[in-house]
Symmetry: C2
Subunit: 429 residues, 2 copies
């Protein structure tokens, strides 16, 4: 962790934004091959890649009822209750995002509607290994469920013994996932996009993954819908002299422990805070399981930016447009009004990021790498589709026909003009 | 135009969906070079490419006030009124899409909100030449305006004499576009994405374009937001024996005249309709300016599919998920309920596609190539961003702390757990 002078180190911002770019030739070719193979050979290809990458030959990809029951038995009652509480909070928040279709009835002989309907079938990718998080299951499946998606399919790579972490299966059961398949990586994404003998083709794929998964999602996008391609996670904390450096240090560390690419940034207009936080990080680091990851992440993408005033701090915030923004100042409810771009904003000293990651209700899938300028947290909107409906009566079309014909002719599209005229016997053949 | 048996010609659907895939190496390399050049050399690069591709050296890229006034003077009063009426209809329909931010106040000490705010600055691409359509200006700019976007920038390639089609400028004025620049192609997209001396960087780019434009949009996506990459346009008409073959022929032609890649498809359960429509097309073709384009398009991607009953027709509709769907049957209001996937549905014989293209109010930018399975017409949603807001009081965090800590520990993220504990003096250092 070091103090940087943003006016002199412009490169820091570029370095930050560039973390998420996928431009690796080798990964590119491998993923192309995997997708092609799965399209050609279906389940056979999936099983071979599972052997290669996950180290086991599976008979069945589908998780059985017995495995589900076993997993729930192996999850502590406390954790099941915690996940259920989290589910309720997530549902409450996301239900407010539901929208109805609407219709306009104009002049009694025109009907215009926007139909809002759920996607038919959705696929959720859940990473395995160290990044197998039950919270990810809840955050992806629940908005789909609320949208009314008819079938939610989940895929996740198995452990070498063929099992899946019990809390992942428990979360899937709590969230209402319909089917779970043991397959990960680019091969899993290809299976969801094109279907195989055992895995059904879906309409959209959401969920995080490693670089192979991200690349595969990018490649199948257009054949199926995808959510954002999330870059590495990031937090920005804006603090004044009233903030508690212990809390700041803890929250920066909690971000940095995700992976070595994660970015943890403090912006403060009170220079002594910079030193206090650096000291606190050293102390707290001792208590962290993933100490080595935290150290590397803070070295690479950690930064403390000292500004001359709050207004300057806000400029930094808005230039970065962070995924997570914590406001640890005396008046967070005033400060947040100046925030133009952020995925989620955490207000005040008892709203650490972890509250949002697991529990509060808003989604933890958020726009990274400054994309909060134009994109949004995952939500119910990501699992619906809209269709327009247009009905004109004969008299309605007659009233408007001259305007439509004139615009069509201005555009040089006589076929369009004729399609109106022909209905009133006005095409001269 | 020919009759195809969909059960035997499975390839037809694949051919249809594959029209939109951009996999051309040469275009790819050219676009990479152009984007790099514009990033390095700004306006200088823009002017050189404009010389190369549009055939003139420009002094100023910005369209002046005088040029705007001149353009409006050169547009007929009738057309100005038509475009204004269209604008009013588009506004009325899209205003219903506006949504408010919401907040949940839980147990008096938790606040959760979803803020909905407009994008700051948006760029709209409008093609030049034969595809310079004033309706495109309205359909892209008006939803942005309604969303509350602060600045709408439009770019479009100039004619060889340095002018822009008057009705394009008039439509921009009517729709409330803030600034217009004379630049097109991949260079224009690069300018909007990264900014140059004269063109400001935007947050999102929307609007149609040729393959260079589409490829450039795909490449800058992530640095800026983009709307869908639209494939060639398509119509599917579902007709029973009650339909008027003259209207069907006219509407198929109106789709086919867009370009040689456009697809016009009739699905009918009444075989004689197939022959009647083919005859009508031959007759009506004589009256069309773009006859050659229509012929080629119908040859390549035109098709009449004869089914044994309406239910089978509906299966074809849903397998294709067309951009435009016309229902020319005796009971369109019953039939549409069976439609799972479509961009826009036109009901009954006086609602030809052209009504929606220009005038009725719903957007004419619609999902193509079967992407209506998971994507939606352009609308106000495309010009807003959402941000989550989370406030927990000390007592609120205390009530939930055990749950949050337990989930964090299950995920192996002790830093997350500590960020909660540290606030209650529970981290042992």
């Amino acid at each position: 962790m070091r103090i940087i002078d943003i006016s002199k180190e412009k490169d820091f911002l570029n370095k930050l934004f560039d973390r998420s770019k996928l431009e690796m030739d080798e990964v590119n070719k491998k993923v192309d091959k995997i997708i092609w193979d799965v399209k050609q050979n279906g389940d056979k290809a999936l099983k071979e890649y599972t052997k290669e990458y996950d180290g086991l030959m599976l008979e069945n990809l589908l998780v059985s009822k017995e495995e589900m029951e076993e997993a729930i038995k192996n999850t502590s009652r406390d954790l099941l209750e915690d996940l259920t509480k989290a589910k309720e909070n997530i549902m409450k928040f996301h239900k407010k995002q539901l929208r109805n279709s609407y219709s306009l009835y104009e002049e009694e002989d025109i009907i215009l509607s926007q139909l809002i309907r759920p996607l038919e079938r959705v696929g959720i990718y859940i990473p395995g290994g160290k990044a197998a998080y039950p919270s990810t299951v809840l955050m992806n499946a629940i908005p789909a469920k609320i949208a009314g998606v008819k079938e939610i399919v989940m895929i996740t790579p198995p452990c070498p013994d063929g099992s899946i972490k019990p809390s992942i299966l428990a979360a899937a059961s709590i969230a209402g996932v319909d089917k779970i398949y043991k397959v990960g990586g680019a091969q899993g994404i290809a299976a969801l996009a094109f279907g195989t003998e055992s895995i059904p083709k879906v309409d959209k794929i959401t969920g995080p993954g490693n670089i192979y998964v991200a690349m595969a999602k990018k490649k199948v996008s257009g054949y199926v819908g995808i959510d954002m391609i999330a870059g590495p996670s990031e937090i920005l904390i804006i603090a004044d002299k009233w903030a508690n450096p212990k809390y700041i240090a803890a929250d920066l560390i909690s971000q940095a422990e995700h992976d070595e690419m994660a970015a943890a940034i403090l912006v403060t207009d009170w220079e002594p805070m910079a030193y206090k936080v650096m000291e606190e990080i050293e102390v707290q680091l001792q208590t962290i399981d993933r100490k080595e990851i935290v150290k590397k992440s803070l070295e690479n993408y950690g930064a403390i930016i000292v500004t001359s005033c709050m207004a300057e701090s806000m400029d930094v915030v808005n230039a970065i447009g962070p995924e997570h923004l914590e406001i640890l100042t005396r008046d967070p409810f005033e400060v947040y009004k100046g925030v133009k771009n952020a995925g989620a904003i955490f207000l005040g000293e008892y709203s650490p990021e972890a509250v949002g990651d697991y529990f509060a209700g808003p989604n933890h899938t958020l726009p990274t790498s400054s994309t909060s300028r134009f994109s949004s947290p995952l939500g119910v909107d990501d699992f619906i589709k809209k269709t327009s409906l247009i009905y004109y009566s004969k008299t309605a079309l007659e009233r408007s026909k001259n305007s439509i014909v004139r615009i069509a002719e201005e555009e040089g599209l006589t076929g369009h003009a004729n399609s109106i005229r022909v209905r009133f016997g006005e095409v001269e053949l």
